[in-house]
């Protein structure tokens, strides 16, 4: 992986230069990518991003430096620079940065693919893209497949984190993802567009579980119905059943992000924003009803957000962000934990060697209930089921959010009826979590890349949940 003495030397040097804390993280991200359009190869690509990120605490100021030059001389030069520059800004600190006393780990772990990436070579990857294009195009009866873009990526992430507080964590996590973006066209009704992706940690065995081609065909056929015969959503207040794909996104955006402690404290104010949550609201403010339990768990085997120790070496564990409607536990790194007077819960993550570790989500989901899909629909005289989405956004305090349904249906007398085109669910965080009246029992996860920080960092996550039923919702219509 890397000569660990290089990292040990960097940490020792930083401490000898006056750092009260030093952490050296080697990280290598190796990715292979196939991009295809309409069943033909556009490009193959490979990226190898490898280097060392060094974080130092000097006189209460935090410095971070990164280099891809892995010789002792270059690393030492970067360490010296990090220490001296951090020292230079220390007089500006009104409140010195301190880390909590969390225990850090000494461990080594590796996710071992059952089927290696190498065993599914570029020819097989291209063949999968061709098969998907052919199957989707052949499955449409009334609409034309205008564009079908297919991508597949395999990614292996290797890390070694060593800190002056005793952390030593070596890890290897492979990840695999497949995505497609397609446009269906019907001259008299315009177009409909869908981006769908599959992602997990592990190896090529995931492809079999995902049934990529079958799933894409089903998606395309369902969207064909929406394009051909979709009607407007009802204007009156109705019951809405929100599919797990949207529920997952909702909890990521409106439970995960607002419960990141650095946002709550204002550290992201000029970038990804702050939070409607203030420190004094934790454990006191009720954002939803008894159905509103949102869980964060980096330890789910096979998940995109999988890790066992965070990038400060703190052991990962399950966190309850919202518990039965109550704001419960923010996501912390060691710095925010100190400011909250608590211990880190192992949420520090960095995208690659060149980024600082900050509080991030991993795998976030709404706790499932006990209802079947039919039970969720039961008794609804008129409603809408929103299964998937394309457009979404949320404000910078994570309160006012919008999701535009893609595959959606009317619910009439407890059963799915005609497709609905572009229904808009635009509501506040409190509205969503307070209006849940039924929770499905089937928990599903979806992959995503979560963005935050400056420079921006995208980290792999899962978000998920069951289908839920919301009461008294007034839907909009996209223009």
């Amino acid at each position: 992986m890397v000569d660990e003495e290089l990292l040990v030397g960097a940490v020792d040097l930083a401490v000898s230069q006056g750092a009260t804390y030093a952490e050296a993280r080697f990280q290598e991200d190796l990715s292979d990518f196939v991009l295809m359009r309409n069943g033909r190869v556009l490009a193959l690509s490979t990226s190898v991003v490898r280097g060392i990120g060094i974080r130092v605490l000097v006189s209460g100021a935090l410095g971070f430096a990164a280099t891809d030059r892995l010789d002792r001389e270059s690393v030492s030069a970067v360490v010296r620079e990090a220490v001296s520059r951090a020292r230079a800004i220390a007089p500006l600190m009104k409140r010195p940065v301190e880390f909590d006393e969390s225990g850090v780990g000494r461990a080594s772990y590796e996710v071992v693919p059952k089927v290696s990436f190498e065993s599914f070579g570029v020819e097989e990857r291209v063949e999968l893209g061709k098969e998907a294009y052919k199957a989707v195009g052949g499955a449409l009866r009334e609409t034309k497949l205008a564009t079908f873009v297919f991508g597949m990526r395999t990614h292996t992430q290797r890390k070694l984190v060593i800190s002056s507080d005793g952390a030593y964590v070596r890890s290897v996590v492979p990840r695999i993802s497949v995505w497609a973006n397609f446009v269906e066209h019907l001259p008299e009704r315009g177009t409909i567009q869908r981006y769908v992706d599959f992602g997990a940690s592990g190896g090529v065995e995931r492809l079999k579980e995902w049934r990529v081609v079958d799933e894409l065909v089903q998606e395309a056929q369902n969207l064909e119905k929406v394009l051909v015969s979709g009607v407007e959503a009802p204007r009156e207040e109705v019951e809405v059943v929100v599919g797990s794909e949207i529920v997952g996104l909702v909890v990521h955006e409106s439970a995960g992000h607002p419960m990141e402690a650095d946002r709550i404290l204002g550290r992201e104010a000029a970038q990804a924003g702050e939070s409607y949550v203030k420190p004094e609201m934790i454990g006191r403010f009720r954002v939803g009803n008894e159905h509103a339990t949102v869980i964060e768990d980096p330890t789910i085997p096979g998940s995109s957000g999988f890790y066992l120790y965070d990038d400060e070496g703190v052991p990962a564990r399950v966190r309850h962000l919202y518990r039965e409607g109550l704001l419960y536990e923010p996501l912390h790194n060691r710095h925010t934990a100190k400011l909250f007077g608590t211990a880190s819960n192992g949420a520090a993550r960095a995208m690659d060697y060149s980024r600082e570790p900050i509080p991030r989500m991993s795998n976030t989901y709404l706790k499932p209930g006990d209802m079947s899909f039919e039970e969720l629909l039961e008794g609804i005289k008129l409603g809408v089921y929103m299964r998937s989405y394309m457009e979404w956004n949320i404000d910078d305090i994570r309160w006012n959010q919008r999701y535009v349904g893609l595959e959606s249906y009317l619910i009439v007398d407890g059963e799915l009826s005609r497709p609905v085109r572009n229904p808009v669910l635009e509501l506040t965080t409190k509205d969503f979590y307070s209006r849940i009246v039924g929770v499905g029992k089937q928990l599903r996860f979806y992959p995503g890349t979560c963005g935050k920080g400056e420079p921006s960092q995208g980290v792999p996550v899962w978000y998920g949940g069951p289908d839920v039923r919301l009461s008294k919702i007034r839907l909009g219509v996209a223009v």
Partner: protein, 442 residues
């Protein structure tokens, strides 16, 4: 070893093994001071050399990116792909590297003072923060970023050039009670007064807010600040990329050059040869000379953005916008008009001025259906005067509808780069009519 030396060394190691080779090397020395709650959060520094390769063999194409510290390691890593590149079919994107031509020089994009401040960005950050605090902010957050970059491109056809540039980006959010406002600036030249103005302008805008007023969703006349214009035009210009068209990721897919796509008062230029904007480049990633060109001229689609490969697919010529797989804009300039912000306010009977936005997402790229959320100040305007403020409304419309609804362009332009405006953009305030605004209704 300079970026050009690295590029030449990598090219030398590959040109016998592939039919075509393009090497781009970026050597970067950068620092960023992140500020929150009016104090430094972290000082970050980077020293890295990234090696990017576009390799062709038997009309197959592969793109590689390495941050591995040395040319030897990049060359080693290439061996892995040599085994498989010819196993796949020919690529639609294959194109011979262009015949090398001498690009016109581009002077003025390098400022030694920025390099000098790399080791100590503190005085600049202090100037920005204190300017905001003395202009009415209770607390501030933002970043100050400085960088020195050397870019080298060599090709197997014989192109071999490098250029250096510097960049400074400053953006600051001023907060007071429940109000906030934001300003941003980006340039290749250090201008301490401009850095201070980021602070004073961001805090000064707070003074425009009076009392909070109600909001009802609907269509309104809307003034968009240069930050909002920058964000939205980043999307529009990126959708002019030939690759965005090919991938079905553009509302311009249904348009032809010459079609009316915006108000006749609107012109959007891709400006790689504007030496004040940090995205400048004398030549693109294939060594093709860049030139400034309108993407939209007086409301009409004027040019898509191409590299050699997408140009071949569209039966045209490269526009000097490589990006190997994806052609992209370098800098954006929205041409000014004749109005002041005050003129625009006075013209609005019932509308809003949106001073910043984020989270622009599309329901359908082909149709251009999008929404974006206002953050920071949204000023409510009634009968030509600012009446108060509302918070966090959302523009939910179509790009073409919005562009065609432009009624006035500001005469003063601002150079903007920040988290939500990644492609440096020079833009004025814009007044558009009948823009769809939404917000959750309790």
């Amino acid at each position: 070893m300079s970026a050009r030396d690295v590029a030449e060394k990598v090219l030398g190691g590959l040109k016998e093994r592939f039919d075509s080779v393009v090497v781009k090397v970026v050597d970067r020395n950068a620092a960023m001071l992140k500020i929150w709650n009016s104090q430094p959060g972290v000082l970050q520094m980077w020293r890295d050399v990234s090696v990017h390769l576009l390799l062709g063999k038997q009309r197959r194409v592969t793109v590689l990116e390495f941050e591995v510290g040395s040319p030897e390691e990049a060359l080693d890593a290439v061996r892995r792909i040599e085994d498989y590149i010819t196993k796949v079919e020919e690529s639609e994107l294959y194109a011979e590297p262009p015949e090398p031509k001498e690009p016109a020089p581009l002077e003025g994009g390098y400022d030694r003072r920025i390099v000098d401040h790399l080791s100590d960005p503190r005085p600049l950050a202090e100037a920005m923060v204190s300017s905001a605090l003395s202009s009415g902010a209770e607390r501030v957050a933002g970043t100050l970023e400085l960088e020195e970059v050397e870019v080298a491109v060599t090709t197997s056809r014989g192109f071999d050039k490098a250029y250096r540039k510097t960049g400074v980006t400053a953006h600051l959010r001023s907060l007071r009670g429940e109000l906030s406002s934001h300003w941003a600036w980006g340039s290749t030249q250090l201008d301490v007064r401009a850095v201070e103005e980021v602070g004073s302008r961001s805090a000064g805008l707070l003074e425009l807010a009076k009392t909070k007023v109600g909001f009802t969703p609907g269509r309104y006349d809307v003034i968009l600040s240069p930050l909002v214009v920058g964000n939205l035009m980043n999307y529009v210009a990126s959708m002019a990329s030939g690759m965005a068209i090919l991938l079905g990721m553009s509302f311009l897919l249904k348009k032809r050059v010459g079609d009316l796509v915006a108000s006749e008062s609107f012109t959007l230029v891709d400006a790689p040869r504007d030496v004040l904007l940090p995205g400048l480049a004398p030549f693109d990633d294939e060594g093709v000379e860049t030139y400034n060109k309108p993407v939209i001229s007086a409301g009409r689609l004027a040019s898509l953005l191409h590299n050699t490969a997408t140009a071949r697919m569209f039966k045209t010529s490269s526009t000097g916008n490589a990006g190997w797989t994806n052609p992209r804009p370098w800098n954006l300039v929205v041409e000014p008009g004749g109005s002041t912000f005050e003129d625009m306010v006075s013209e609005v009977r019932r509308g809003y001025a949106i001073m910043n936005n984020w989270y622009t997402r599309l329901q359908n790229y082909v149709e251009g259906q999008f929404s974006t959320v206002a953050r920071d100040l949204v000023l409510a305007i009634r009968d030509g005067s600012i009446e108060g403020y509302v918070d966090r409304v959302r523009i939910a419309d179509r790009f073409e509808t919005l562009l065609k609804s432009i009624r006035a362009m500001g005469k003063e332009v601002y150079d903007v780069t920040w988290w939500e405006v990644r492609i440096p953009t020079r833009a004025p305030y814009i007044l558009a009519e009948s823009v769809n605004l939404t917000k959750p209704i309790a």
